[in-house]
């Protein structure tokens, strides 16, 4: 979903230009356009003149799209409330991940850290920005199943941070302004701040 000054008619025209045939339907007064792109069902909806709904579905059901419309109508609890996601005013990006079996399988590739993350239930990433310095702090929050698994993960993170402090190169220190971590019962936090100087170097091709 995107919000802003989005012209829904223009989006539909672009879809048509790409040869995507869309069938019109209406759900609770909202115009929806559904078609197929590479065997997946695609659905577009212009919600309030400023919001574009974009949904893909392998089954063509688009239940999430309908639920989104119901959420905007105030008939459902919103994502933030249900998942305790509070986006700070200065946020740049947020990712909230429920650690499913599939995610656990992927985490195994991270070695010891990945094994320590097998007992995580949720991981969130909050990227913010400092207006003055333009540095970008990233806060990673791990919610664990119990105190023991939280302590095990804390041990792994502590090892990584200590290793960074001992062995970081000059270039590493250009990337990260600071790295800190903390734990409160089953919740661990890792704070990593990326420097604006490093971002400028990446763009200039000097990194």
């Amino acid at each position: 979903m995107a919000t802003g000054n989005i012209e829904f008619a223009r989006i539909l025209a672009v879809a048509a230009a790409f040869g995507i045939e869309l069938e019109k339907s209406v759900y609770r007064g909202i115009e929806l356009h559904t078609g197929k792109v590479q065997h997946r069902s695609l659905q577009l909806g212009g919600l309030d003149g400023q919001t574009l709904l974009f949904s893909t579905s392998s089954t063509g059901d688009h239940a999430l799209a309908r639920q989104t419309i119901e959420t905007l109508a105030g008939e459902r609890e919103d994502f933030g409330a249900a998942n305790q996601v509070n986006l700070p005013a200065n946020y740049l990006g947020n990712v909230s991940l429920k650690v499913s079996r599939g995610v656990r399988d992927l985490l195994r590739y991270l070695g010891e850290l990945g094994r320590a993350l097998q007992d995580a239930t949720h991981i969130t990433f909050d990227l913010t920005a400092d207006n003055a310095s333009k540095d970008a702090p990233l806060l990673v929050t791990f919610r664990m199943t119990d105190d023991a698994s939280a302590a095990a993960l804390e041990g792994q993170i502590k090892k990584l941070v200590e290793d960074f402090e001992r062995n970081a190169s000059v270039r590493d220190r250009e990337i990260f302004r600071s790295i800190t971590f903390g734990r409160e019962a089953q919740v661990l936090t890792l704070n990593v701040t990326f420097t604006y100087e490093w971002m400028q170097k990446v763009v200039s091709g000097h990194s």
Binding site: A2, Q67, G74, V103
Partner: protein
Amino acid sequence: MKLVPGTAPINTGAFLNVRRIFDLYGHLIQRLPQFGIIEQLIAAGFPDPRTDINKIGLISDLDQQS
């Protein structure tokens, strides 16, 4: 942010504050070679992230497969 449903198990999501990203880092982003792709899409009629898009929210029910 009342944008998307939050009833379990749909609790995997991502949000981007496009307006703020471009306010702070737009001058850098536009110098990236990859921005050329975005310019081509804008020319084709897609919304311009520099001016047209405030925020983007993505949600997934992939975790229902767990």
